[in-house]
């Protein structure tokens, strides 16, 4: 046990925690924007899988990491268009449509992987970029400021998303259509347009999350996410629909994951119990949700399609 608390292990754990938190954070922030507008997207995992595959394939074919990131974002946007049309304009039930999107993404990414790639081949990963000066801070610098650009982006997006929601007119529109779409409609705010754009933002970020996941790992395999997108949805509830809370949730999740990884590597957790230990983050989430869900107020119009009457 004492081994764990050496400084180098702590720094390494913190670094992994932040790396592991990145895809969760990107996806959860996007989902937060969508949910604040009243749209639940359970398809995040499917969107991430498709984006992850296309990002991976792009690197495999072109070797261009930034093109891969862009492709991941674009796939998310396209899936957002699809989900937006289904839920906002055709007013389908959000829960079921989201599950449909998930299964679609899972199946298509699997199929394309088998057809186009076959066996997993490792690709180049996102390089870590040292931030001048800050990365020289002893220990802390190595943990926080020697990460990849998507990780930096994810954390920069936390205040940006918060600002978008609380300080901009569009954010005010998002919050109002998520709470009382009738009121927004009566004031000439287009509920459909606001929600559609919120979904596009949310899905694009899920696309980025997929890209981040695969480009940090440097390899793709069928069902790469293993439910990560669903956890991202849960983290929105955990974070009480606030970007800063969502960030807390993503970091906590990353930390528990990282700790389990490092303890396994160090032999603190015996191999025989490793499957059990893998459950820790999920158990933690459920416990946190039980505690948090009692106190916070979800957007009143969440999951409710809007029709004038």
């Amino acid at each position: 046990m004492g081994e764990f608390f050496t400084l180098s292990v702590l720094v390494a754990t913190a670094a992994s925690a932040i790396r592991l938190a990145t895809p969760y954070l990107l996806a959860s922030l996007g989902e937060t924007v969508g949910q604040r507008s009243g749209v639940l997207n359970l398809g995040v995992d499917g969107v991430m899988l498709l984006s992850a595959f296309f990002s991976y394939w792009t690197v495999l074919e072109t070797g261009n990491l930034w093109l891969a990131v862009f492709v991941g974002l674009a796939v998310g946007l396209v899936m957002g268009l699809l989900y937006g049309v289904i839920t906002v304009f055709l007013k389908a039930t959000q829960g079921i449509s989201g599950i449909g999107i998930f299964i679609f993404g899972l199946g298509l990414s699997d199929l394309l992987f088998r057809r186009l790639v076959g066996t997993p081949k490792p690709v180049r990963r996102l390089p870590n970029v040292d931030i001048p000066i800050l990365s020289d801070i002893p220990h802390l610098g190595a943990a926080l400021f020697q990460r990849n650009l998507l990780t930096y982006l994810a954390f920069v997006l936390v205040p940006v998303t918060a600002l978008l929601l609380t300080r901009t007119t569009f954010g005010l529109n998002i919050r109002s259509v998520g709470e009382n779409p009738q009121a927004a409609d009566s004031l000439g705010v287009s509920v459909e347009r606001t929600r559609f754009v919120a979904i596009l933002i949310g899905n694009s970020m899920a696309g980025l999350a997929g890209a981040a996941l695969v480009l940090q790992l440097g390899i793709f395999q069928p069902n790469l996410t293993q439910g990560l997108g669903f956890i991202a949805v849960a983290l929105v509830y955990f974070g009480a629909w606030r970007p800063i809370g969502v960030m807390g949730g993503a970091l906590l999740y990353g930390l528990v994951n990282a700790t389990v990884l490092h303890w396994k590597a160090l032999g603190i957790i015996p191999v025989s119990d490793s499957d059990l230990a893998n459950m820790a983050p999920a158990v933690l989430t459920i416990l946190a949700l039980i505690i948090v869900a009692r106190r916070v107020h979800a957007p009143s119009a969440l999951t409710k399609p809007f029709t004038r009457h």
């Binding site: 954010g171 005010l172 109002s176 709470e179 009121a183 004031l187 000439g188 705010v189 004038r308």
Partner: protein, 535 residues
Amino acid sequence: MPVGIPQWVSTGAGRFAGTEPTDTMGSDENILEMRGITKAFPGVVANDNVDLDVRYGEVHTLLGENGAGKSTLVKILFGLYQPDEGSIHLRGEPIAIASPSEAIASRIGMIHQHFMLVPTLTVAENVALGTRSTRRPFTDLDVVSRRISEISEEHGLAVDPSVEVRRLAVGERQRVEIVKALYRDAELLILDEPTAVLTPGEVDDLFVILRRMADDGRGLIFISHKLREVMTLSDRITVLRNGKVVGNTTPAETSSEQLAQMMVGRTVRLTPEKPLLDEGHARLSVENLTIHGDRETVAVNDISFEVRSGEILGIAGVSGNGQRELAEAIAGLRGVEPGSSIRLDGVDVTGDDTRARRDRGLGFIPEERMRDGAIAEFTVSENLVLVDHGSDRFTSRGMLAFGAIGQHSRKLVDEFAVKTPGIDTPTSSLSGGNIQKVILARELSASPTVLLACQPTRGVDIGAAEYIHTRLIEQRSIGTATILISEDLDEVLGLADRVAVMYEGHIVAIVHGRSASRDQIGLLMAGVVEQTPSS
């Protein structure tokens, strides 16, 4: 001296600054002319060749029953519906209003029957919503707040821009709605049943504000079915029935009775006649009743009362002062705190469930008729036997006895004059009044000794309301003890032998129906106990 619309250039409505109707047009001219408006929905013509004129500086009332077409007409005006036929002229110019934003841009404002506010946003955010910010893409809430304060001061509408709307009382929310319209510089203001949720005192305050707004040269369309309010506030009245205009009049030329007759199309008795009865024995006794509300707060605080055979006890109060919790506790739908006691005919039923209480003679007409009173998707017949469907009468060997159910249902539909195509019609396709009659029929057919009637005529047309009142008085005559919980003070005063006024979970007073005055009860409803009413 009419004051012009403030010349203020800022957000959405700024482009209209400079139009001063009171200078350019005489107050006799019309701000609005709607001509030949026709709008049909599948199966019903909601507006049939309707004309409506509104002058600058007047309060023009649209009066009619539910379903008469008032809401459809103003929704057309506000761009929520498109008319099938007809034309709209605003300030003399023909106009097509495709959406609420176009209506707002044309300086039409609407105060909706259900507040169009976002509870989790602040007053300033609610007001700013949908307007153009001076600091796009960011909001300019400080600018908005300053403007709100100006409007508040100018019109006597006290609101704090920085408070979240969910923390506001109903009357304050109403003021926010009006500020919202004024912020958008509305010159034609539609008020859809704005008094429905207010105390009598708040209604008086609102009327002062509305009158002042009209005096400033605005045109106001006031929608209501409360005849006394209509007689007080209106300059002119247009009466709608079945989608058609059936009359134009003014308060000076008409009376409440005449208006009611125009609305319904036949003579209506507004105040039910009620025979004098001797006091009977206590059928329902409530002692030291304390009930917790949904948020663990004390909703009803240590109240005691009894209701006697042949008596109607009215419970007056502004919505949210514990009436709902009281009704649910008596019906057995909500738990009570230790020390509370509820007795039916002397038998303690405090720990009994709803079924046991019904078996002891309790009948219950719930406030939310579509949530608690009937199942919308079920047929009329199914709803009529909903309480008794498991009894030997309607079930044999575990199978529903459709013959007996049908016979029973046909008899009740007939007896209670329920307007329905048949007993197998889905209840949801009936009007509110007829659904209420179905519930009333079910409850009264069980011959209750204690009847708990909550908002029995809310949202019900005058004809059905008149019928329901007659049946309640009939029950009184045969010895039923009735508790009438209603926010309609006229209903309470018309029916009740005694009136208990609830305020913040207490019964602040029980007064005799005959000696009670509206003013006195209005003050009690607002929690003013010490003050003696001035008359």
